[in-house]
Amino acid sequence: MTTGLYGTYGGRYVPETLVPALDELEAGWREARADPDFRSELDELGRTFAGRPTPLTRADRFAPGRRLYLKREDLLHTGAHKLNNALGQAVLARRLGKRRIVAETGAGQHGVAAATVCARFGYECVVYMGEEDMRRQRPNVERMELLGAEVRPVEFGTRTLKEATSEAIRDWITNVETTHYLIGSCVGPAPYPEIVRELQSVIGSEARSQFLDAEGRLPGVVVACVGGGSNAIGMFAGFVDDTDVRLVGVEAAGAASLGTGHAGVLHGARSSVLADDDGQIVDAHSISAGLDYPGVGPEHAFLRDTGRAEYVRATDGEALAAFRDLTRCEGIIPALEPAHALARARDLEEELVLVCLSGRGDKDLEEVLAHRAG
């Protein structure tokens, strides 16, 4: 492969129909990045629409005896880091002249972010979501519909994020001339992993300077949950050159594409995936819809192989316990996805810890309450 490589990962494993669109996207992205107006429009939207910068909150009672800070992406408009990416791609879509957006969603946070930017920019919006996820993330389905998006249930296969992503890509193949595919994580064919990383890197760059302000030095370890890997890669982007800072990604135990997967091809890129010996993708399982995905962004596979980042796992039960503890000790209800990061962050030995609290937990209440009852 020649384009978009992270070591041997990444690339463009897509049907020919999409290649010209990816070339066009890549050219549009290069142009936008070189254009100061693009940067300033995004900064302005971040400040006046999305609520950037998000604060850094010390969590003393959750992690007694440590200096653990939360980067509060849960306070971003729409309730998760996903909006950083959606806003950037919405501006990009306008520059490309595309007025129809397709997206996939698992937890529904990316779907809500996509529906939100489409409402604001006046685009048509179609979101694919697995039936199982529509059930467990009901409030987000309702939000998307209120925002004017059409939510199309995906009723076959795993009925979760993997199938929703495949269907979104099939829609894009069919409507590629009018449509921008607003991918929700740092996955997919080049140049998507790079675009999403750059748009999410605002998390890491803000957090780095906020941490320096608060502590006068850098954290010993930075922790983020990893589904497709976008909040983690955005956070890590701020610290990857600080070689003393440990980078830890936390996957769901039943969806550990980096921890238990191996090299494979899924959704347009070569990365570490959950697949059997024949290359057939196997089902992932997680209580958190946003982590319930058998693939991961190619840059994470590269960071794992080079040793720059480590990837560990948390179980459903550990995530639920961390969810409860943060809620009770700090008055912050986290989403189940970052609850995985919180679960592992407490048993790291570093004194100075920075955790990406990628989203808030309103969407998960029903699921958590059901587990408490059961």
Binding site: V14, E16, T17, A21, A263, L266, D278, Q280
Partner: protein
């Protein structure tokens, strides 16, 4: 060309397709997440996987198909994940050993993994430059994706096909063009074959195959009949016009360089060719017609022109 999903009874189905008049059989090796496929082939893949059709079993199926259809080019069609897991070179070589003539990888566009010999696809969205690249890298012929979309029967032949054929003729350096996606009826077959050099039928063939070999043979025969009838009609009109007759030939000579593993009947209603091999063996497909007398019934064609070295031969009698 007929697409079938690999499965326990695929060899018999492939034989039936050939008996019905298929020139090439494409054999789907199922993948769990087939991005280029619509519901019919996706569901067929799900069923095949549930029945245990993993790579090894698919290769066995290919070998058994080869035994039942010894003369027919067989082309496995699959996705990159299977090759990544099996090993790219090992896959190509084991497939060849099992009887594969070439290979199609639906999510591996031209330019990527150039060392893997395979049939390349071009689509209506492909730029002229990409058509040129695909034609240069392809193994024998180009697969024209007639529409922007996934596999699956459609009501009509895509209006994008004519423009794509026109560009592929211009930039494809004379490589034969086979059109697929959305073609399912004899009328479609006729309409698509009026533009391209051959047609590919996938989803509908997979559906008909569920009713067994007889149903498939009859279905393929109905497509074959439509194609042959329209070719004869073309020839009549050309005779009537007193233009130079360009009949349909069977070329049984193998091209020498690239694509040398293919030896299939190639229709010869095409003009743009370079170089020539005089005296290749041809025989007309359609016989009883007023101008048949002007074609040698069997034996030598006056000329068989060939494209740039390596592509398949194009016969002109």
């Amino acid at each position: 060309m007929i697409y079938l999903m690999a499965g326990a009874d695929t060899p018999e189905l492939a034989r039936a397709a050939v008996d019905g008049g298929a020139n090439i059989v494409e054999l789907g090796f199922p993948f769990s997440d087939p991005l280029a496929d619509g519901p019919v082939i996706r569901r067929a893949a799900e069923r095949a996987l549930a029945a245990g059709m993993r790579t090894r079993a698919c290769l066995d199926c290919l070998a058994r198909t080869r035994a039942l259809a010894p003369e027919t080019p067989l082309v496995p069609m699959t996705y990159a994940s299977l090759l990544e897991a099996y090993g790219w070179d090992r896959f190509a070589s084991d497939a060849r050993t099992a009887g594969a003539t070439s290979l199609i990888v639906a999510d591996l566009p031209a330019g990527e993994q150039p060392e893997l010999r395979r049939v390349q696809l071009v689509a209506p969205t492909s730029t002229d430059e990409r058509i040129r690249l695909a034609a240069e890298q392809t193994d024998g012929w180009l697969y024209l994706v007639t529409l922007t979309g996934t596999t699956g029967a459609r009501d009509d032949v895509s209006p994008a096909l004519a423009g794509l054929v026109e560009r592929a003729r211009r930039f494809g350096d004379g490589v034969p063009l086979y059109a697929g996606f959305g073609i399912s009826t004899p009328d479609h077959a006729r309409a698509a074959a009026a533009l391209a050099d051959g047609i590919v039928v996938g989803s509908r063939a997979v559906q008909v195959a569920e009713d067994g070999p007889d149903a498939l043979r009859n279905y393929v025969a109905s497509l074959r009949h439509a194609l042959d009838a329209s070719r004869t009609a073309t020839r009549f009109s050309q005779c009537g016009d007193r233009r130079r007759t360009v009949p349909t030939c069977r070329v049984t000579r193998r091209p020498h360089i690239r694509g040398a593993r293919f030896a299939v009947p190639v229709s010869a209603t095409r003009r743009s060719t370079r170089g020539s091999i005089a005296g290749a063996r041809c025989s007309p497909i359609a016989t009883s017609s007023s101008c048949a007398t002007r074609i040698p019934a069997t034996g030598r064609c006056p000329t068989v022109q060939r494209q740039r070295s390596g592509a398949w031969p194009i016969a002109r009698c």
